[in-house]
């Protein structure tokens, strides 16, 4: 220390205890100005009490309230940008020790200008912690302020006439003023107020004004839009993913009381397991282990009630044919005759199929014949049972069984007759006219051929029927040729 600096010390009465009264709890600039002078007068940190409004200044009534005057040639105070950034934010913290901490760091910065880089230093860690808390509180304010619409001032002019949005919020730190800009930039063309126990902000669309601390009862109690918001909140929650800890970490309970949606949380959590169970029950069908013999599947389909068809008064019809057939023929579902006899393709459509198979030179007895859906779907009209097409959902459910048959028989070719049959093999609906006459490779290495269902031919008359019968024959002939190739 130079002699000159030592002389500077004469300005300070050694042993003096200074008391600095801050005009506002968040007045960083005031602190900075006072701190700069105190450092220049070399007043050590333990000789200063920083008192904010409402703080216990009486304890320090014996302290010196007049600020020392720095010597004219005092060294400029050094503080790097990182420190100022952190200090400005940390000053908003509710910790009453914060200004003392800031001063202590500023004091230490004079001897060690790079102290802020030492992340293991206790003071540096503390100021970073304060800064982090304040930033988090600000972030939560941006997130959790909930405006309520108050229809007041009907004489007001402008587009949003009479609409005033008012929020009640309880920040943990002195962040209200620092966050005014955020809300102003976001809601520029809205009239709004944010009321807090530490003060209030009012924006009328062009001017920001500050008001005194408020009470919760000063803020409006509800908003019709909250019903919609709560409905949204409850609906977007997926009960199958309950993670309460993750929610509490980001949205601690202290904020809940001012958030309209938070009142739903206990019930949502309590009901989640039941809702998930219901979703799983309605969703994933609880199939048991699939039998690995055709006889086992035959028994199982008689007991299957996974779709409404199984609950009708009907039989179940199992596929039939050699256990190692190279060709599997898939129809739609059993009809009235099939249901009564318990065998596939024995009704009018089956008889027509037999005629065409013979024409193509395919021996029905060498093929495995089955249906996409195992039960007869019908509506009762007097004494008659009228055939009904199975729905996509029913076909998809029944895939469980036909996949079992395919896994056991392992045909080289599958001939699907009609859109339902094709869907049960492919899992999607295809247009028959687009895919007929050419093989579609399947995952297990076999091939799918698609054609129309013979019952389609039965419904046609005259030239149209002749034309379709010709196409049907062509499809069967192509299958016959391919069958010869894959058999080798």
């Amino acid at each position: 220390m130079t002699v000159k600096q030592a002389l500077g010390l004469q300005h300070v009465r050694l042993g003096t205890y200074y008391v600095v009264n801050l005009p506002d709890a968040d007045d960083f600039d005031f602190w900075r100005e006072r701190a700069r002078a105190l450092v220049q007068c070399e007043v050590p940190p333990d000789r200063i009490a920083w008192v904010e409004p409402g703080g216990s200044g009486d304890l320090f009534s014996h302290g010196e309230r007049r600020m020392p005057v720095p010597p004219a040639d005092a060294r400029p105070v050094r503080a790097n940008r990182r420190f100022v950034q952190l200090a400005r934010n940390a000053a908003l913290h509710s910790d009453t020790e914060r200004f003392a901490l800031l001063y202590r760091l500023l004091w230490r910065l004079q001897a060690n200008p790079r102290i802020m880089e030492d992340k293991a230093d206790l003071d540096v860690r503390r100021i970073e912690e304060l800064d982090k808390n304040v930033r988090r509180d600000s972030h939560k304010m941006h997130a959790f302020v909930r405006f309520r619409l108050v229809e007041s001032d009907p004489d007001a002019l402008g587009e949003e006439a009479g609409e005033h949005y008012v929020a009640w919020f309880e920040p943990e730190h002195h962040i209200l003023r620092a966050n005014a800009g955020f809300f102003m930039r976001r809601f520029s063309n809205m009239r709004w107020s944010i009321l807090t126990p530490r003060g209030s902000l009012h924006w009328d669309g062009s001017i920001m004004s500050e008001g005194p601390p408020a009470q919760r009862s000063d803020a409006p109690g509800g908003d019709p839009m909250e019903d919609l918001w709560r409905k949204y909140y409850a609906s977007i929650f997926n009960p199958a993913r309950l993670k309460v800890g993750a929610m509490l970490k980001e949205m601690p309970k202290k904020y809940w009381k001012n958030m309209p949606e938070a009142s739903l949380i206990p019930d949502l959590i309590a009901g989640a397991q039941n809702r998930e169970a219901a979703m799983v029950e309605k969703g994933a069908l609880e199939f048991e282990e699939r039998p690995d013999t055709l006889e086992g599947i035959d028994r199982a389909i008689h007991a299957c009630r996974k779709c409404p068809i199984g609950a009708l008064d009907n039989n179940a019809v199992m596929g039939e044919g050699p256990r190692d057939a190279a060709l599997m023929i898939v129809g739609e579902q059993p009809g009235d005759n099939e249901d009564l006899q318990g065998r596939p393709f024995v009704g009018p459509a089956g008889q027509l199929l037999d005629v065409h198979l013979e024409k193509a030179g395919i021996d029905r007895r060498t093929a495995y014949l089955t249906n996409a859906v195992k039960h007869f779907k019908y509506v009762q009209r007097g004494k008659r049972r009228l055939h009904q097409n199975p729905g996509a959902k029913e076909i998809d459910t029944c895939r469980w069984w036909i996949e079992g048959e395919r896994a056991i028989v392992q045909p080289k070719l599958v001939l699907a007759m009609g859109a339902s049959a094709a869907r049960s093999v492919l899992g999607r609906t295809v247009s028959i006219s687009k895919v007929r006459g050419k093989p579609i490779p399947l995952e297990d290495g076999s091939e799918l051929w698609v054609t129309v269902h013979p019952s389609y031919l039965l419904r046609l008359e005259g030239p149209a029927r002749e034309e379709q019968a010709r196409l049907f024959d062509a499809d069967l002939a192509a299958v016959k040729v391919r069958l010869g190739e894959v058999r080798g």
Binding site: D118, K119, A120, S188, N189, L228, A234, N238, G427
Partner: protein, 414 residues
């Protein structure tokens, strides 16, 4: 259908959107409503306005314009063959809801998706119309994320990018075979073609802004995608590989993973058990390793087990470190940043603090403990002037020492 109230529609159409994992609202251009006629601002960081009990944040009003759909994807609750209740918003209803929620500070903006009705083009036009009304008629400056429909005309998708902050196109499933089986109406080529077109639009718009200050912005928050995990047989290796190809090929900002959730009225084709949510978490962690820790996709794949999946009991970084023990211990006082980033338990922030602090002091174990969340996890992999874990890294049971203890508790529950 017109007899449904907005409340009833909201319930159906938010419920239908709850399976979608992505909800981010960050990374777009900064703007605010000063000097405009409307409301809204984006300041870089997105804001989560609430958290649901599933731990996911609510940042945007995430809804479907309609859950009617002509497609029949097996994993999707809105597929044609599903028996769920159906509803349909008009574009104006979505606009009104968005603005009403935004004014009350419930949300950062809108994330709009839709089932496909009439045609892909018609649906895409409706989505764009919502964004247009918000931007042009209400001067809304909040965040808009539009889910685009790969089958739609690229010109309409381009329009979407002019109004939206982010656009996304779902790849749906990690493998082409999974897509063929479970999303029969979709095609991988079409999806990737649409992503490629969006990427070209992004590049072009960025280039134009370099030349002309007032060139229109195109999706300033970029494009993202989502894939469903656990619906097909894809391994974590497959998934990581797919994600990294997508990042490379289409300059995606994010790839979201969504564990297959039980859905009401599920298709019989789906696996009967849902995959553990922890798998989704491990995939996000691996994504993080590639984006922020400098791991190559091949290195993440090295962390998988014999079946191609990441271990569920420990995180992928620890899994990698345990496989490559010869890389450790790392000396915190002289190791490079890249080496430090490989230490399990050291995050990007902790590494930054270590690098800054060691210019001032030689770090001891206590110093490192102050800079990290858990020294126990880090200790076996580092050395300091007063610490050297010679024995520990060689211990065969290191994994069980470091795996979370809750896992062990389950042994006694049974």
């Amino acid at each position: 259908m017109s007899s449904q109230s907005v409340l009833q529609k909201l319930e159906i159409l938010a419920d239908a959107a709850k399976y979608d994992a992505s909800c981010a609202s960050s990374g777009t251009a900064k703007r605010n409503s000063m000097g405009g006629k409307g409301i809204g601002s984006t300041e870089g960081m997105g804001i989560c306005h609430a958290y649901a009990p599933d731990g996911r944040c609510i940042s945007l009003l995430k809804i479907l314009l309609t859950n009617h759909c002509v497609f029949d994807c097996h994993y999707c609750v809105n597929r044609k063959s599903s028996n769920v209740a159906r509803a349909r918003f008009t574009p104006q209803e979505v606009v009104d809801l968005t603005l009403a929620f935004y004014r009350r500070n419930y949300i950062e903006g809108l994330f709009l998706s839709s089932g496909i009705v009439k045609s892909s083009n018609h649906t895409m036009e409706q989505l764009v119309e919502v964004a247009r009304i918000l931007r042009e008629e209400h001067d809304f400056r909040g965040y808009i994320h539009l889910k685009t429909i790969p089958e739609a005309d690229p010109e309409i998708v381009h329009q979407a990018g002019l109004y939206a902050d982010r656009i996304s196109i779902n790849v749906e499933l990690p493998t082409d075979s999974g897509l063929t089986r479970l999303a029969p109406d979709k095609s991988a080529a079409q999806i990737e073609g649409a992503m490629g077109k969006v990427k070209a639009d992004l590049v072009e718009a960025k280039d134009a802004r370099k030349r002309f200050k007032h060139a229109p912005r195109f999706a300033p928050a970029g494009q993202s995608t989502q894939m469903i995990v656990g619906a097909d047989a894809a391994t974590d290796s497959d998934i990581v590989g797919k994600a990294s190809r997508l990042y490379d090929s289409f300059k995606l900002r994010r790839v979201y993973y969504s564990a297959l959730s039980p859905i009401p009225d599920a298709s019989a084709v789906l696996p009967l058990k849902r995959p553990p949510l922890i798998r989704e978490h491990r995939l996000y962690q691996s994504d993080w390793l590639m984006r922020f820790y400098g791991y190559k996709p091949a290195e993440v794949m090295q962390a998988t087990e014999a079946d191609g999946n990441l271990p569920l009991d420990i995180d992928p970084k620890l899994a990698w470190a345990l496989k490559f023990r010869e890389q450790f211990p790392v000396d915190v006082n002289c190791a490079s940043k890249e080496q430090l980033l490989r230490v399990p338990g050291l995050g990007v922030k902790a590494v930054g603090k270590i690098l800054a602090s060691r210019r001032h002091r030689t770090l001891r174990l206590d110093d490192v403990a102050r800079l990290t969340l858990s020294i126990t996890k880090v200790r076996p992999f580092i050395c300091t002037v007063d610490w050297r874990p010679v024995l520990l890294t060689d211990r065969a049971d290191l994994r069980s020492l470091l795996a979370p203890k809750t896992e062990q508790l389950e042994l006694f529950v049974a």
